[in-house]
Every structure is written in C-alpha cells, then in structure tokens.
Symmetry: C2
Subunit: 203 residues, 2 copies
Amino acid sequence: MNDPATADLWPGEGTEAPRRLLLAAVDSFARRGYHATTTRDIATAAGMSPAALYIHYPSKAALLAEISRTGHQATFDLVERAEAASTDPVRQMRRLVEDFTVWHARGHTVGRIVNNELHALPEDTFAAVAELRIRIEETVRRIIEHGVAAGLFEVSDPRTAARAVTSLGVDVSRWYTERSSEPPEELGRRYAELVLRMLGATA
Amino acid sequence: MNDPATADLWPGEGTEAPRRLLLAAVDSFARRGYHATTTRDIATAAGMSPAALYIHYPSKAALLAEISRTGHQATFDLVERAEAASTDPVRQMRRLVEDFTVWHARGHTVGRIVNNELHALPEDTFAAVAELRIRIEETVRRIIEHGVAAGLFEVSDPRTAARAVTSLGVDVSRWYTERSSEPPEELGRRYAELVLRMLGATA
C-alpha cells in the first residue's frame, strides 16, 4: 500500500474507493498470489466491506484486469514517448531502455502480478493487453530497423533483437527488489549501454 | 505429460510412481497454477489415489520443492559444463548462452513454474535453490571476468552484465511457446551472438 510506483498508476484522490481497492488488490495479490486471494481479503485491506467492493468491481478478475490494463498502458506510453522524443535511433533506444528498466524496477510489484497472471485475465482484457505487448515490441523493432537503415546499428535479425531488448526490461520485475544494489536509474543507464552494444551501435 | 523436456528431468522408468507424480504435478501446476491445484488433482492426473500420493510426497509443496530443486540443479549443471568445456571465455560464454537458452525454451513449462512459485517453496528448499541461482550467476560473472582479464571482453560492470545474461536466458521460459517461430537451438545461437556483442567480444 505504501509503494509509490504502484500508487502512480492510479493518480487522483487517495481516498477514492476504486483507487483504494486497486492498491489493496495489488498488495494482496503480491502477498498471497492471485489465486489464494479472496475478494474479502481485498475489501478488508481497503478498509471496506465485500459488498462495497462489488459496487466498484464485480470480481477479483475485474480488479486484475484493471491492474493489468493500466500497467501495460503505462509501459506502452513510455515506449511511445521514447520514440517520439528524438529522431535519432540511438537516443530513442537509450531513452526507451532507461525508462522501461526504471519502470520495471520501481514498479516490480505490479510488473510481477501483470506478467505472472496473464492466463487469469478475462478474454477481452487478455486481447487488449496482448495487443499492447505486440505494439511495444513493434516500436522497439522499428527503432532498431531505423538504426540499421541509418547505419547506426548493426543487427542481422531485428525481430530477435527486439525480443531480447523487451525481455531484458520485463524480467527486471522478476528479480529486482528494494534490496537490489543499484537504484532503478543507475540500472537503467547500465542496461541502455549493454543494449546499445548488443545492437552494434557505433559509439 | 507429453512434454519430453519435462520428462528428461526425471530419467528412469516411466512407470515409477514418484516420477509419474512429478510429471502430473508439473502438468497440473502449468494448467491451473500452483495455488489452485489440489493434491487430488495431481493424484488423478497420475492415475493414483490421494492416499497413494502421500506415500511418496507429504504435500503439494513437497512436489513443488522437488520440481524446483531438480530444475535448478539441471540448469546449474549445464552452466558448469559450459565453463568446463573450454578455457576460452568466448567459447565458454557461447556454449553457456546456447545451452541455457535451449533449456529455458524447451523446458519452458517447468521454467515458468519454478520462477513464478519461488515464494511458495518450503524454507530449506528455497535456501538450496537460492544458492544454486547465486552459483549460476557467479559462474557467468567468472567467465566474463576471465574474458576481460584476457582482453577478449570489454565490460565495465561484470556484475550487471552477468545479471543481464542470466536474466535474458531465464526470461525465455516466460515468453517461449511451441508456437514461437525459432526452434530452441536457433534461438540459442542468436542469443549467444547478441550476448557476445553485449560483452564487447572481439570477433
């Protein structure tokens, strides 16, 4: 409940009931796992009754859907912003890897839930989220292809390289903890350097 | 139950009850998630009674512990073999990334269970598994450091680079499916190329 990165996903008044329920759901899913969490656990953590929860969300799956949709939208938005911030593929890629890594380090609690519970999503949310994941990877690949075309990157298989870049960032959520030695920003800078080398970027 | 990579983890007679239970547990955890799986589900999938299951494993957690221990031991073994196979850090790293990637692609079902359910492990298994994970990463780092010392790699921060190499391989279990376009061996070769470039390997 005290995780600022989680709270950032739902800006607005801290006392709004839907937001309190989302934060309580993230906290409960992270502690117990999605399957072992009951709507009563979530309502209790939010200081509400189960009946009050149902006014806002019809089910535990609806809360997971909203968490997953919001988390994926936030990462897609930062990937889009990184591409829009420059016309230079090296700068685009550096910013993308830095921001993507920082997001997954700072937001590792939400990231873990979102990545581990894809199979538990309602079908329409799964489709929306899968679409966002595809668009994230397409953006990464587009930057790589522009870099190759401009002679700035040297990559024989942009699809696999884009997969590797995305995978490296997503997996930060799995292993990063508050006890990790690098602050998110420092990890982001180091990962951006490693990725640019992986892409054969001319320094 | 028909996954040959899973079956490889427990070689021996296909009709042995403990092995049948382990394969049934992997199948059930993959289908339903660990928390939603009951010992009855596992016994049924193995064609046995719950009472017969308890002769071999006292609990669902004991099955998870054995799956996790075996999976981590198998990956640690291949990492050790890659280091022992040569004295050339470039060859060691290429073999390590190839084999580690192939394992996580082919064994993605076990890999996903093992990586997602660490928190559900009994304490002593968690400690043993954490130790194996540390030793895997130390081996990767040692190869990098030898490569740097020999002037074959150029890496400013071997610890972060080792983390990235390991992370890239582990995350294959999350995204790889039978529908993925590259066969595991081809993905392994491409990942080894990307990693060697990331480490600044002189071609």
